[in-house]
């Protein structure tokens, strides 16, 4: 039967075509949840279980975050599937997350039969309407024969240019319909130019500015990882002798132990890289979009600097920051061209200015949180210990809140594509599903989810998926019994009025055990290392709840709306 069904141009149902398209597109694993309007596809899948792995999640939001985690650590798009109505609407948060963070996703939703569209039929919802603002592209397919072309287009759009999520909504009659199957990968679309021609003239001008600069400074974003320009970035920075700072999503694009690494940018980033943005003379921003968490008050951001901005998305250029040289280009191509054009240089005096501020941050902040000797455990020491024990080589998946900022600050990433977090949307509940998605994409790597007690409870049902598929992902809950980041803002900016941020939490270890996942709770400093070692030594999934200080604040901090010059160390 197999050889017959895989034979080209046999007549099959649209539902079967969906599965065969996924296989022909090279999808090996995808995530989903069945329901009425997608049942024909699930029925077809029954016969293909040895050719493609489907992971049954516990909630469609879990499916899409898992697909995001999968995409973020691999070179493939994440794929997920859901039924119509509530199944599809449960994907919306993930779509919004993926479009904010440029994550390539292909989502397939079942839809009621085309004759029922617009009649308020059972589980009919306008999925195209709802998903339009949060997709790079979407379409509805009402005929079986249109399925392969729609999916081929979807895969191409999701991955090309600036990646993003796409959604294909397939009516039930299209799934039942018969068609002659043939799949042609999409390699180009008329009027869509995802890879701009390298603008050599502008790059020459950029090189001239860089060669003449006294205090040049690189801001690296996720564009480096998306275009695979990690080595090109290192080569460029080393040749021109320029310090490199990273955005939240850029973390792990440049090794944290590299002598030119200046640190992490943004509201809770490092002191020197934030402050010196307002002192550099040439600012070279690559594959980043000047998010407000990075710029602080824009009218007081890098006003002294000549800005060179390289991004593949033309709409990002001059969107936030006045840019002398906006360069629409792929980061990898642009960086390798620039490296050829710049002079060998070093800027030791400029670089020493970072060192001085680093020392202040170390004394006022870092030493205190990494090496406390008394009081409750601090988030930072847990992350620091984890970073040491894994030699900075693990994939770290974080949720949203204080623990996310602490993990981003203190995990010393040495391998690229190792930081998976929800940046632009800041989606609590992201980490647990994204972590097992990442683990399925990179089974040989250690994948550790670091999650707050609040965020964990947003998608904890996905422990069921981890249990069912025996996915050996490691989970660290940093439990402060508070919605910590909100509490921090209440303390600092709302006169300590803790309005609904205190949490009465369940026994997390018992919950894990309910899913047959091993786990333990640690509260004492002297027990931390041994607990972390057990977590890392476990061959299967493992949950470690670390009870941390309840009212700890993350510093440094640029208060919301303030200039980056106003970054506070305490």
């Amino acid at each position: 039967m197999e050889s017959e069904t895989l034979n080209k141009t046999t007549t099959i149902t649209g539902a079967e075509a969906v599965i065969r398209c996924l296989i022909d597109e090279g999808v090996s694993t995808f995530f989903g949840y069945p329901g009425g309007a997608i049942m024909p596809v699930y029925d077809a899948l029954y016969d293909y279980q040895d050719k493609i792995e489907h992971i049954l999640v516990r909630h469609e939001q879990g499916a899409i975050h898992a697909a995001e985690g999968y995409a973020r650590v691999s070179d493939k798009p994440g794929v997920c599937m859901a039924t119509s109505g509530p199944g599809a609407t449960n994907l919306i948060t993930g779509l919004a997350d993926a479009i904010a963070d440029s994550t390539p996703l292909v989502c397939i939703t079942g839809q009621v039969a085309s004759s029922l569209l617009g009649t308020d039929a059972f589980q009919e919802t306008d999925v195209i309407g709802i998903s339009t603002p949060v997709t790079k592209w979407n379409c509805i397919v009402t005929k079986a024969e249109d399925i392969p072309a729609a999916l081929a287009k979807a895969f191409y759009i999701a991955q090309s240019g600036r990646p993003g999520p796409v959604l294909v909504d397939i009516t039930k009659d299209a799934q039942f319909g018969k068609m002659k199957y043939e799949y042609k990968k999409c390699e180009a679309l008329k009027h869509y130019n995802p890879t701009p021609v390298l603008p050599l003239e502008q790059l020459k001008q950029a090189a001239k500015l860089i060669n003449e600069a006294q205090a040049p400074y690189i801001l690296a974003g996720q564009g480096i990882l998306l275009s695979g320009a990690q080595n090109e970035l290192v080569a460029f920075a080393e040749k021109a002798g320029i310090p490199v700072a990273s955005t939240l999503l850029g973390l792990s694009a440049f090794p944290c132990d590299h002598p030119l690494y200046a640190g992490f940018l943004g509201m809770h980033g490092n002191y020197a890289p934030n402050l010196l943005t307002n002192k550099c003379d040439v600012l070279i921003a690559i594959g980043m979009r000047f998010d407000d968490r990075v710029t602080g008050k824009v009218d007081q951001y890098a006003k002294q600097a000549t800005v060179i901005h390289i991004d593949i998305d033309a709409s990002e250029l001059n969107k936030i920051v006045d840019t002398k040289l906006p360069i629409q280009a792929d980061a990898k191509e642009a960086l390798s061209a620039l490296t050829g054009l710049v002079n060998k240089n070093e800027h030791s005096e400029w670089f020493n200015r970072f060192k001085a501020f680093d020392q202040q941050e170390k004394e006022k902040v870092t030493d205190k949180v990494l090496f406390p000797t008394e009081g409750q455990l601090k988030m930072a020491e847990v992350v620091h210990r984890l970073s040491e024990l894994t030699k900075g080589e693990a994939i770290i998946v974080t949720d949203v809140g204080q623990h996310q900022m602490v993990a981003s600050r203190y995990y010393r990433f040495k391998k690229s594509k190792s930081n998976v977090t929800s940046g632009g949307l800041g989606t609590m509940g992201f980490a647990l599903p994204a972590a097992f998605g990442a683990k399925l994409a990179q089974p040989a790597r250690e994948v550790i989810a670091i999650i707050g007690d609040g965020g964990f409870q947003m998608t904890l049902q996905e422990l069921g998926t981890i249990f069912q598929y025996k996915i050996p992902v490691k989970i660290v809950i940093l439990n402060n019994n508070f919605l910590g980041m909100v509490r921090q803002w209440q303390q600092l900016f709302f006169e300590k009025r803790y309005s609904f941020t205190e949490m009465c939490n369940p026994d997390f270890v018992a919950i894990a055990k309910g899913y047959k996942i091993e786990g333990e709770k640690v509260e004492q400093r002297e027990d931390l290392s041994a607990s972390l070692k057990r977590l890392l030594a476990a061959q299967e999934a493992y949950l470690l709840e670390v009870v941390v200080e309840t009212e700890e604040n993350v510093f440094p901090m640029v208060p919301a709306g303030a200039s980056i010059d106003e970054i506070r160390l305490e």
């Binding site: 979407n138 009027h191 998305d313 033309a314 709409s315 969107k319």
Partner: protein, 97 residues
């Protein structure tokens, strides 16, 4: 300072392009004063003409966001300028992009 702009979008004949275009404006609280959408004689193409009141900065941002839509082929926009004695009516529209 706001001006009146006329924005021309040439796109593929895809049913979901009209809402995508409208969303680009609505999300940025730029209200559409006039909208014309029509299928062209080449049935694979669609033309949209919109009139809005906005600032030069937002007009440019919106044009870039429109260009970014997969099914958009090209975007041109014009600013309406008042007709004065030294500027005859013919020069009323200034080409921007």
């Amino acid at each position: 300072m706001t001006n009146t702009y006329t924005i021309h979008v040439l796109g593929n004949n895809e049913p979901n392009l009209l809402p995508r275009i409208a969303l680009v404006f609505n999300r940025r609280r730029v209200f559409i004063k006039n909208l014309n959408a029509s299928e062209l004689s080449d049935k694979s193409q669609y033309s949209y003409t919109l009139t809005v009141e906005t600032t030069p900065v937002w007009a440019e941002r919106i044009a870039k966001q429109l260009e970014k839509q997969i099914d958009v082929q090209s975007v041109n926009y014009f600013v309406h300028m008042p007709v004065t004695s030294d500027r005859p009516a013919k020069a009323e529209l200034a080409y921007c992009a």
